[in-house]
């Protein structure tokens, strides 16, 4: 299983792939960072990193599927899936190894963004590290949910492009759940709105970003990740049965 994890990591880092995406990610972040600074006014001169994360969510919807789109579709297209499926590894191990690898890439991207708070601190600014850590945790968990969704989409199709588009669609839906909830239709149906609200990742992300750590939020993110990873395992297994 470790071999597969290692190979997956190599496939990201031995190609320009991970670097291009990380660079784009940091570029987006630095735009948000510099615009936050230039917007500073008043006497307090504060800005929030989690706020930057939040505004980056929308860009992320396009970056994360690019990471996940090839995970299973490419294997199926090139026929290398056979190698994995006829090895002593089972589907559970294959999916977990691949997920951990892509999560590692994502973690690397996040760690690199620590550059911005470090620069802020180094240039004399005050950084609330505890609150920031909580924000990072929230962002990491939210990203894992998106990676799990992207991975699932990749297991549905043979074409990486379609996998990416499906992933973007699913993540857009996730982000806009709040918008749907507060739409006129659901305003008139408060009970339905409440049910939909339970699935919203944004609210939970916001509480993380405000430095509030709630066990219920952690459980929500973890169960969602498990749900989509589990679904991927089922989907890959199912493809075996319905192939032909």
């Amino acid at each position: 299983m470790f071999s597969l994890y290692k190979k997956e990591l190599q496939s990201y880092f031995y190609s320009p792939f991970a670097y291009v995406i990380t660079a784009l990610f940091l570029l987006i972040f630095s735009f948000a960072f510099s615009s936050s600074i230039s917007d500073l006014s008043g006497t307090q001169l504060t800005f929030s990193f989690p706020g930057m994360f939040y505004s980056n969510l929308y860009f992320f919807i396009f970056l994360i599927p690019a990471l996940t789109m090839r995970m299973f579709s490419e294997e199926r297209r090139t026929g290398t899936e056979i190698l994995l499926m006829t090895s002593p590894l089972n589907v559970f191990q294959i999916v977990i190894a691949k997920f951990l690898a892509v999560a590692t890439v994502y973690l690397t991207m996040l760690v690199l963004t620590l550059f911005f708070p470090i620069v802020t601190a180094a240039t004399g600014g005050g950084v609330m590290w505890s609150s920031l850590a909580c924000g990072y945790l929230g962002f990491f968990l939210w990203g894992l949910v998106c990676l799990a969704i992207g991975m699932l989409m990749s297991s549905f199709t043979e074409s990486p492009v379609i996998a990416a588009i499906l992933g973007e669609g699913a993540m857009l839906l996730l982000v806009f759940i709040d918008g749907i909830k507060s739409s006129g239709l659901f305003e008139s149906l408060p009970k339905a709105a409440k049910v939909i609200g339970q699935f919203s990742t944004n609210e939970r992300f916001v509480s993380f970003s405000e430095g509030i750590f709630k066990l219920s939020d952690l459980v929500f993110f973890l169960t969602t990740i498990i749900l989509f990873v589990g679904w991927t395992i089922i989907s890959v297994e199912k493809r075996r049965w319905s192939r032909g």
């Binding site: 496939s11 006829t86 090895s87 002593p88 075996r240 032909g244």
Partner: protein, 335 residues
């Protein structure tokens, strides 16, 4: 020993493999022969655990591939039709990875990778990207992958496709040499290949087994008759009479003139053994013979005969059932 019992595979409503059973003995090379689309690859994919079967059992050395896949897969090395190689990896890196997922560790891994590269003669390519290799080399890298972990059983799906003639000979020799340590199932639609390498063949067509026997038996089953060619110098009438006098053969069927007073006589005989009698009869009559050969119906003819015809309908009910399944407008209620 690999046992395949009543294996069936449906793709939707189409049966790709219909109730086939055969056994592969230890240290045997079994040829799996059939035209394109006969169900060869499907069967091999099921044996290796890639596809689940719709019915039946596959036992790999006594382990059921469906019930205990991880243990059964450990015993198998598989080279699929399309070599499962990652274009973005280097040859050695790829083989190390393949060894890794097969659970081979440390020094053992290094030794096995080296050994496999040695056997397939890809050592000088070890640092090349697989993407840049020719089809033949990709095939060999895939083959090397199958040898990793020293599996008891090797399943090779068309291992020589895309190789040039000299590579084909090399790979065939390799397969022959692997026989002493491994049990091999080899599929091909190329007859010469099967003939050159395998002792026993399973001929499959339309998902059914048409024949399962040694190559020699198969050829014999086409009728034991052989055609003996004798090139001799001398009077035509005399030689014909002399040949006809030998017991156990038919008459001379054809005489082909070859030159001045030299003819080739074609004789149909029950079997090869009469050749000696004919020769001694000719020698007794002071006739000089310059060439003797015999022809038997080739495996090719056996193959064409066995695979060309569509499966016979066993009875009327089968035929009706088939019509029913093929025709969506066929309404049972109307009967």
């Amino acid at each position: 020993m690999i046992e395949i019992k009543n294996l069936t595979k449906f793709y939707g409503n189409n049966a790709a493999v219909k109730n086939i059973s055969f056994t592969v003995k230890d240290h045997e090379i079994l040829g799996f022969l059939g035209p394109n689309g006969a169900g060869k690859s499907t069967t091999m994919n099921i044996i290796t655990g890639y596809l689940p079967s719709s019915g039946g059992k596959v036992l790999i050395g006594g382990t059921d591939i469906a019930e205990n896949p991880s243990e059964a897969k450990r015993k198998i090395g598989y080279l699929p039709e399309i070599p499962p190689v990652y274009p973005d990896m280097k040859v050695k890196e790829y083989l190390k990875f393949a060894a890794g997922i097969k659970g081979i560790k440390g020094a053992e891994k290094k030794a096995q990778v080296e050994d496999a590269m040695e056997k397939l003669k890809i050592k000088d390519m070890e640092n090349r990207l697989i993407r840049n290799l020719s089809k033949g080399y990709k095939q060999r890298v895939g083959f090397a992958q199958a040898l990793l972990g020293n599996p008891e059983y090797l399943i090779l799906d068309e291992p020589t496709v895309g190789l040039d003639p000299s590579q084909v000979v090399e790979v065939r020799n390799l397969i022959m040499s692997l026989k002493k340590d491994h049990t091999i199932i080899l599929s091909s639609h190329i007859l010469q290949e099967i003939q050159a390498v395998c002792e026993r063949v399973v001929i499959i067509s339309h998902g059914e087994i048409r024949a399962m026997d040694t190559i020699k038996h198969l050829e014999d089953s086409m009728g034991t008759s052989v055609v003996i060619n004798i090139k001799a110098e001398g009077d035509r009438e005399k030689i014909s009479a002399c040949i006809s006098s030998v017991a156990g053969i038919g008459s001379v069927t054809e005489v082909i003139p070859e030159g001045d007073n030299v003819n080739t006589y074609k004789i149909s005989a029950e079997n090869d053994d009469v050749r000696k009698d004919i020769l001694s009869a000719l020698v007794k009559n002071d006739i000089s013979v310059s060439e003797v050969s015999s022809e038997r119906p080739s495996l090719e003819e056996v193959f064409v005969q066995l695979t060309a015809s569509a499966p016979k309908k066993r009875d009327l009910r089968d035929l009706l059932n088939e019509m029913e399944s093929e025709n969506p407008y066929y309404d049972k209620e109307e009967q």
